[in-house]
Symmetry: C2
Subunit: 335 residues, 2 copies
DNA sequence: AGTTTGCATGAAAACGTTTACGTTGCCGCC
DNA sequence: GGCGGCAACGTAAACGTTTTCATGCAAACT
């Protein structure tokens, strides 16, 4: 019992395949009566249109691709969640591809998605304007997430990393922690660089006499933990540490716990992202809230808009604001 | 400049489309010399075979679908990570669909994937044997994750929840915490039920005189937090609490912190899953390790095997073992 | 009444591949 | 020299849709 095709339905409903096609989509150009007959026939035969055949003639896949880095940590789970939710709401399928180590692998991933997707959502350090020109057909709608690309031919959606980091460092300083250290993310990462800049700017403005202390990290707990160990041994010890993301802040908390440093009494800690777990760690983590799921949702919505009206490719470069959320780890709410 | 088709390549290389097709796949039935000429032509034209056309004639998509619940929390990010890694290694694409609230929505998701995937990876409470019979063509390879389905026509891959929970409760009791409470997951969830059974069995065997204390939860931090508040107020207070997953254990820790209960001195805490963050919370969480990424990888590998040799559908029902990992939160490693 | 308009319907082309089948040319064998 | 076999290659059908165009027919105009 092979799957029913449009011809089977046509025979069953005693009409031509053209009418079946019309009835199944929109239904305009066909009598309500025959449309009903066709739908009943389709129901009887459990007819499901063959996706590939439709793609072939339509040149549309109703699928969007998401090119992401290694899906490690809660940030990406939230991001995908937002993307998926929005895609579902619009009846779009979601093809994900992650963990492309090198730029060559990323290029291969993009190429292999060619023709399987109507548009691309890209969040990757490896992807710059040159990459896009080299590996993508010019007419494929693309939305870049957290990307430094300023190319006017692609939409970009960024988080306001600079403002978020600036506000957090300002808050830490004004809470009395003048000596603020920073745990950075990978130097190749755009968000990481912007957050670092925000830290620098705020220090320059509000604690110009203090030295900058920047420890290298890579956005993973372990690196935050290592940085924490270093910080604990420093003399003079910083009064606060601001990690470029929450996972590293959590690793840092673990290191302080282990070395007997009390948070926030001995040292204040803050992170970035506000991943769901941030409010449940001990002590609850002060952080910069990025509405991660919303970020994914917005990105997909923007891409979907691009699909529907390609002429409207005004190459919008949007920036999502973020706000600091103060919890116990920075001491401001501890008496 | 529309995308190059196989005809363009044929013209450029001065051969027929058939030869181009042969050269691009395998390359058998064509001289090494002409094959080279064809590949060069393809390179020049930046030819990429049209995926839909290929699917149409081949009846294969080289894509597998993943049907998942709401992608909330680190468990799913790890799971998808494992699946994606394995898919990439085999050159398969990954179509994800999550957050299907009701059974009807899940059915729609499955139907809409029809014809777009060669096989399905399913992790969902809503999906039972009847659902599969009703919504899937009998010949579509499927691997079920953490599913109670015993149907011999589908492969199943489970975690050994019972043994894991049993071992953990045994460990807690033998560490001196006889009065063990349990925070359950959703009653509809298979893992949750099995873990509860493991708890019951271990209590019956090692602490038969102790009453069972089961608090309702839903696998989310907040419910663990609420359960923690309840536990803190109980008299007599349990000596240990075993949460059906790590996220609830983390919520529970937060509640104890807030109510001034010290962990593990006043109460021991254990979780299940060993999500990456478990070792970084405060105190580090004793838990049952499930190699989540491996779980995803195995599931995909099994599915891929099914694709390659459908006759080999021996409907294997595999169970992945898990082990307890002892950290500070249960007190065993605190002097 | 004749002509036009509009609408439901059907026939057939087109999308870009793969593959069954046929043709050609070459080689080796009797 | 004829013949069979084999490998390389080309022709054309097939996959299941959508869509353009033509056709018929009824209603609405002149």
């Amino acid at each position: 019992m092979a799957a029913a095709t449009i011809k089977d339905v046509a025979r069953e409903a005693k009409v031509s395949v053209a009418s079946v096609s019309r009835a199944m989509n929109g239904g305009s150009g066909v009598t309500a009566e025959t449309s009903l007959r066709i739908h009943q026939a389709a129901e009887r035969l459990q007819y499901i249109p063959h996706a590939a055949a439709r793609m072939l003639i339509t040149r549309r896949t109703r699928t969007i691709g998401a090119l992401l880095p290694d899906l490690y940590g809660e940030f990406f789970s939230e991001l995908i969640r937002g993307i998926d939710l929005a895609a579902r709401a619009r009846g779009l399928h979601l093809l994900v591809s992650s963990s492309h180590d090198g730029v060559e692998e990323a290029a291969a991933a993009v190429r292999s998605m060619q023709g399987r997707v109507d548009g691309l959502l890209i969040l990757s350090e490896r992807v710059d304007a040159a990459f896009l020109r080299a590996n993508l057909p010019r007419d494929l709608p693309v939305v870049l997430l957290n990307s430094p690309v300023k190319d006017s031919s692609h939409a970009v959606l960024n988080v306001d990393n600079h403002a978020g980091a600036f506000a957090m460092v300002k808050h830490l300083i004004q809470s009395g922690h003048k000596r603020v250290a920073f745990i950075s993310g990978p130097a190749s990462n755009f968000d990481s660089r912007q957050r670092l800049e925000g830290y620098r700017a705020a220090m320059a403005q509000y604690a110009p006499d203090m030295p900058l202390t920047v420890l290298g990290g890579d956005f993973i707990e372990e690196s935050g933990y290592q940085a924490g160990l270093q910080l604990a041994a420093m003399k003079p010890r910083p009064a606060a540490v601001f990690a470029a993301n929450d996972m590293m802040a959590v690793g840092c908390l673990a290191a302080f716990k282990e070395t007997g440093l009390r948070v926030p009494q001995d040292i204040a800690v803050a992170g970035f992202d506000d991943i769901p777990i941030a409010r449940y760690v001990n002590p609850p983590l002060t952080t910069v809230r990025v509405r991660i799921a919303d970020l994914g949702r917005s990105a997909l919505d923007q891409l979907a808009d691009l699909l529907e009206s390609p002429e409207h490719s005004s190459a919008s470069a949007q920036t999502l604001g973020c706000e600091i959320v103060v919890r116990d780890s920075c001491g401001a709410s501890v008496t």
